[in-house]
Each structure stands twice: as structure tokens, then as C-alpha cells.
């Protein structure tokens, strides 16, 4: 399989695994946010508009179970997808430090945008949600992201 195809196959598997763990098994916060990992990996493989579309689609799927804050995930993931693709022009993603930072910040910014979009009625306090909870989840995503990229090996970032 060609490198780019392999990446998109892994992205698709991450999406399926995310909903299997969160919805199928109902694990909730115990399972990592594989949808964000898939978006961040996919965003580095494509251009800004396509990455935004990818984030839009992922966000809509995530929002399907959100009654009060429908659209919050869509907005957050669309912007994160576009920003993730934009980082290709700014950083060469070949180091572990970059990868960990990219995954960590990507997830934290996604949570920040989601928190902002949710509205006051449905969200926890800023300190609790974004300074305590979100960094832990971002670290979880960073670890999983490193594993995923290690699995991808040389296929990571094939778009010139």
C-alpha cells in the first residue's frame, strides 16, 4: 500500500475505533479521543481546505450525541483541522518533540474551542475544564498520537 493510502486507512480505523470505544462500549472519558488523533494525523497529510472539511465531518459525527451543545464540536474540529494543515507550512514534523507538542496542543486547543462554543449553561469552570481536565486528556492524546505515528512509520506526512 502506498504511504498516503496507509495514512488514510489508519485515520479511518481511528474514527471507527473512537466510536466503537465511546459509543459502542460506552467507555466515555476512559477511552482516548481518537477522533482528534485521526484529525491531527489527517490534517498533516492534506491541505487546509480539505483538512477543514475533514474536521467538519468529524465534528458533526461527534455532535450527533450532543443535545445541548450541538455544533460546538463541529466548530472546534473544523478550526483545528485547518490549523493542523497550516502547521505543515510552519514546522517540519520529523521530531518526537514536535509530534508530542502538536498532538498535545491540538487536543487542548480543540477542547478550548469546544468549551467556548458550548455556552455558559452547559460547561464547567475554565480552571476545571481547561487547566486541569484538558491537559490530562491532551497528554493522553499525545501518547496515543505518538503510538499511531510510530505505527505509520515512514508513511507519516507524504504530501509534499
Amino acid at each position: 500500500m502506498r504511504g498516503g493510502g496507509r495514512v488514510w486507512w489508519v485515520v479511518a480505523m481511528l474514527v471507527v475505533a473512537h466510536f466503537f470505544l465511546h459509543v459502542g462500549l460506552g467507555l466515555g472519558g476512559g477511552a482516548p479521543d481518537l477522533l482528534t488523533v485521526a484529525l491531527l494525523v489527517g490534517a498533516r497529510e492534506t491541505r487546509m481546505g480539505n483538512a477543514a472539511a475533514l474536521g467538519f465531518a468529524f465534528g458533526l459525527l461527534e455532535d450527533a450525541f450532543s443535545v445541548l451543545a450541538f455544533g460546538a464540536n463541529t466548530v472546534a474540529m473544523t478550526i483545528v483541522g485547518a490549523s493542523g494543515a497550516r502547521t505543515r507550512d510552519l514546522f517540519v514534523g520529523d521530531s518526537l518533540i514536535f509530534l508530542v507538542s502538536y498532538m498535545f496542543l491540538g487536543k487542548w486547543v480543540r477542547d478550548l474551542l469546544h468549551w467556548i462554543s458550548m455556552g455558559e449553561g452547559a460547561r464547567h469552570s475554565f480552571v476545571e475544564a481547561l487547566l486541569i481536565g484538558a491537559p490530562l486528556e491532551a497528554a493522553y492524546v499525545a501518547v496515543v498520537g505518538v503510538v499511531v505515528v510510530a505505527v505509520l512509520g515512514g508513511s507519516w506526512e507524504t504530501v509534499s
Partner: protein
Amino acid sequence: MPPFSGELGEVRGRGQLYGMVTMVGLALIVWSSGPATKQRIAAFLRQTVLRPFVLTQQGIAQARVNAATADLLQTAVDSLEAELINQRTLREENAQLRTLLALSERLGDNFVAASVLRAGTAGSESILILDAGAPQGIQVNAPIIASGGLLGVVREVRDRTSIGVDWSNPDFRAAAMTEDASVSGFIEARQRVFGDLDRLLLNGVPFHQQLEPGTQIVTSGLGGVFPRGIPIGVVDSEAESRAGWLRAYWLRPVVNPGEVTHALVSLGPTGGGGLETAFDSGADSLSGNNGDPDDGLPRNGGVR
């Protein structure tokens, strides 16, 4: 003449920028659209792309219930066999079986049983998915009741499923009173402070009426959404008093939403009016009851 590569890259870059702006615009339109549009989109996704995952959870929940109730069913079979041996009447056997459905029997036929599923995705923390919908007679705003008491309310009804919110949802409200109806107020959810559990607040209690810790609070039936007499929680402590006019009390909920796997959904007004007699110490057949009937707490009154 084909454009130079730099020129081509610029055109592609501009296209990607327009694409990005379009997608962000679409996302903002979805985010700011009306509740009906949002419900339609969400329902479409749940019933198409995400349906296999919902079915998976339904299957797992059903298997878990089957495993948990195997002993109960064996007991029922043994009881039936014993009844047959003793040549009891069919009516008596039927009554024996119905005792296994303790709460359902006490509530009457105006309720439908449903499995409670959780999405587990971001933003769906207090959302319930019920595996019963419009064909079973469920309607929007129907109360959802676990064995211990009030769990939540239905928000959306579809062909195969319904979506509800539990009492921990910030939008949840219910008119409430003490069991002897001497004190009334309204219930609202308060989100947890870090490390704590979601709590219920009994608000709007007249200042001259004080409640003892442990006093049982039930639905009052005002507003017509929840039938009268469904247990909500027990008074834990006083939360605040406002300038000599009103008091508010923290409640310890009788139902922990995270533990509920099955619930009953009301199909309409109860024939006999309230449900005061439906919830007694024997109502433990469904999961999710963390209320201890022998906890020594006062059940009636408790007003100082």
C-alpha cells in the same frame, strides 16, 4: 499555455483558503442553527453512520442484563415449578411472576421499559439513549424513572430510539415537595465542583420552613411533566438563604444516573393520579437505586 508551477501553487493555495473559509462558515451555520435543524441532523447521523455503534452498545447492554438476570430467571423458573407441583392456580403463578417486576406492577401499565445507553462522546455527558421510541408510545417530555426514583426526561423521540436528559443536565427542572406536601420548591441541577459529584438543589423553599437533613423530596406534580410522588432525593444540608425570604437545600439524589441500565418511561398521565405508593422499600428490581431503604432517614415530613 499551462501556468508556471508557482502560479499553479498560488491558485491551489487560494482555493484551499476559500475551502477553509467555507467549511468554517458551514460549521458556524450548523452551530447557530435552530434546535429543530440540529435535532434533524443529529438524528440522521445517529440513524445512519453511527447506528452500528449504537446497536453495539444496545447488544452489550442486553447481554449484560441477560447475565445479571440469569439467577433471577432461574429463581422464577424454580418458583413456577414449585407452584405447578403444588397445583396452584394459573392466576397465582402469574402473580408470582409479577412480583419479579416489582416496580412495573406498582406503577401500572402506563409505563414502558427501556434500556438506558450512554454515548460517551464529548458534550453528551448527561444525555441518555433509550431503546424505545414513538412506536412504543413515548412522547417528548415523558418522565424517565429508575427503581429508586426520578432519572430524567425525554427530549427527542424517534422511530427506534429516544433521547433524554438525566437530572444532572443543567437544563433539568422539576417541581418538588416533601412527602407530606408541607414544603414545596423546585429542583435544579448544579454541576460538580472538581472531584465532587453532580448535585441537586431544592430551591424556592419559604424562609420560615426548615427541612431536616434526610427528609425525602418527591415530585409535586406541578407543571404536569412529572407525576406526583416520584422520589428525587433526600435533603443533605442547607445551601443558602436569601435575605430572609427563601431557603435552598442540597439534595442527595436517590438515583445515580451513571449506574442506571434500565428505566421506565411514562406513556401519559397515571390513572390513579400520583405515584406516592409506587416507591417503597421493595423497589429494587432495576439497577440504579442507591437509596438505602433501611438508612434510618425520615421518610415523611421532616419539617422543622
